[in-house]
């Protein structure tokens, strides 16, 4: 019997497998396929202050071993999420939820987190700083250490829940950003978000996505995620939720060896709605083959 339980900044999860924000909706479609309680947790769709339609379509393009998305944070807004979706999710999943929070200003992040802090069902707040800072020429909050730290501090001031800052991979030095978040009080970091990409429609001679660029996710991303988790693990001492391209139980172990305490699974949920269930079910067997009786012992094992 392998002990699959892990702990994230004091929050215990029965296993490290967590569907990634934006790829699992509010869980409803997957709950038709399997009992969500077999998951470690789940990170629900990124939430902003106002309801958002998101970007025009097409929002999706295929790439070798992956996909681009430019959904653009479609969501009903934080108040509707708290009033309707959180209670609903709590019916489908009895463990601690991860609330993924977006924002377009430091104040918006803080306000969203202050509100979500009131939800007992939420165990962890995951703050997505890959959003453009509308007060600062549209540069992403996650693209420089100062603004990443600013968001961290603002959010920490309004919640007592553990805060995981979700980092963008589109930077020269992700470890530096992670360190800035740690110094500003973050309880953990989540990485990686999608890598910026583009596909072009040869016939129309235009970018395929209406938004032109989109975020790359899926297996293509795995080696970049492993490298970044490894780098960040060397730079910080707070826990890491690793993600990017995970498609099987071995990939979960690979990201944990690189330094992750738990692992999110994104795009493959879209390709295979049963993916997370299969990964959870395979995890014990893979651990046994690797001679591991407590999966949390894998964390950072490759350093």
């Amino acid at each position: 019997m392998v002990d699959l339980s892990v702990s994230l900044a004091g929050v215990s999860l029965k296993n490290p497998v967590i569907p990634a924000s934006g790829t699992f909706g509010y869980g409803r479609e997957f709950a038709e396929c399997y009992d969500l309680n077999l998951l470690g947790s789940f990170s629900f769709k990124g939430t902003t202050a106002e309801a958002r339609f998101g970007n025009p379509t097409p929002r999706i393009a295929e790439t070798p071993s992956g996909m681009l998305n430019a959904v653009g944070l479609q969501n009903p807004g934080i108040d509707a999420v708290i009033a309707l979706e959180v209670p609903n999710m709590a019916k489908l999943f009895q463990g601690p939820l991860i609330a993924n929070i977006g924002g377009f200003s430091v104040e918006e992040y803080a306000e969203n987190c202050r509100k979500i802090d009131q939800c007992p069902q939420v165990g962890i707040i995951e703050v997505n700083i890959s959003c453009p800072n509308l007060h600062c020429g549209g540069k992403n909050f996650g693209s420089d250490p100062t603004s990443a730290a600013e968001v961290t501090a603002a959010v920490k001031a309004v919640t007592s829940k553990p805060v995981f800052m979700k980092l963008s991979p589109n930077v020269t030095d992700i470890a530096e950003i992670a360190k800035a978040c740690e110094d500003a009080g973050a309880d953990g970091v989540s990485l990686i978000n999608t890598l910026l990409g583009m596909r072009i429609d040869l016939k129309r001679r235009r970018p395929l996505l209406a938004n032109k660029t989109g975020g790359l996710s899926g297996p293509a991303l795995l080696p970049v995620a492993v490298r970044m988790v490894y780098e960040v693990y060397e730079a910080v001492s707070i826990p890491i939720i690793g993600m990017g391209g995970v498609s099987c139980a071995e990939d979960v172990c690979e990201l944990m060896l690189a330094g992750a305490s738990a692992v999110e699974v994104g795009a493959v949920n879209l390709r295979d709605p049963m993916a997370c269930k299969k990964i959870v079910e395979e995890l014990s067997g893979v651990c046994e083959r690797l001679g591991v009786s407590q999966i949390r012992k894998l964390t950072g094992g490759a350093h």
Binding site: T23, G25, F53, T57
Partner: protein, 244 residues
């Protein structure tokens, strides 16, 4: 929705780029014509959404147009190939909501799901009129199949090589029908939507999809009643809720 393997048991080339594929497996998740399946193809990350053309309890019929590398791979697959499939996706057409004499309006490969609808309407004793548009006569398919259901068929081709020269919208005034079940490329949907004699109808849309089952918000469109996901709340939308 179920995830299930389907085995290709028959294929036939209908036109230069359209194939008829029959797949065997558990079709129990399909509940209405106009629903679609999402097929996993070896070596492609995203699934390919294809409308149910027809089905019985253990055979699914698809009509597939070779549009790119994935559909080419699908149509080149050998009989015996198995495909992991998500089944019973989308809402589908609901003939019970028709408010008048019905015409099925198909553009190109968009006629595929209309066949299953026509068959069910015919079985219920009410074979609908069918209006189909193609680029040319060589591209037309399933004329005999629709005729065998007892449907009255009118045809338009862009080059005039079969039926009336022109677009499918040119046919509608002559059908005398006030309610449409419509599937085809978006410009055709829009043109049919704008036809005066249609007082109501159900329109099937296409969009690039991440999941096909409502999880990713990849396929959202605006309607009069808010955002809808083409894959889950559609692909069929009511005429009156559509905004362009």
């Amino acid at each position: 929705m179920i995830e299930t393997p389907l085995t290709l048991i028959h294929k036939k080339q209908l036109t230069r780029d359209v194939w008829e594929l029959a797949l065997a497996g558990d079709t129990s998740a399909i509940t209405a014509p106009g629903q679609f399946v999402n097929l996993l193809l070896e070596g492609r990350f995203l699934r390919r959404p294809i409308s149910v053309c027809d089905w019985d309890k253990d055979i699914l019929l698809l009509l597939v147009r070779v549009a790119g590398k994935g559909t080419q791979q699908l149509c080149r697959s050998e009989v015996g190939t198995s495909f992991d499939t998500l089944m019973g996706l989308g809402n589908g057409f609901d003939p019970a909501r028709s408010t008048g004499k019905s015409v099925l309006v198909g553009g190109g490969i968009g006629s595929a799901p209309l066949y299953g609808l026509a068959k069910r309407m015919a079985t219920a004793g009410d074979a609908p009129a069918v209006a189909m548009g193609f680029n040319s006569g060589d591209d037309a398919f399933y004329l005999k199949e629709f005729a065998e259901l007892g449907c009255q068929i009118s045809l338009a081709t862009v080059d005039g090589s079969l039926g009336r020269k022109g677009l499918v919208t040119d046919l509608l005034p002559h059908t005398g029908c006030g309610y449409g079940f419509v599937c085809g490329p978006e410009p055709m949907l829009k043109a049919v939507w704008g036809c005066e004699q249609l007082t109501g109808g159900q329109f099937s849309f296409e969009e690039r999809m991440g999941c096909g089952f409502g999880a990713c918000m990849g396929c959202t469109c605006k309607t009069r009643y808010g955002s809808k996901r083409i894959c889950k709340d559609g692909p069929v939308l009511d005429k009156e809720e559509i905004v362009w």
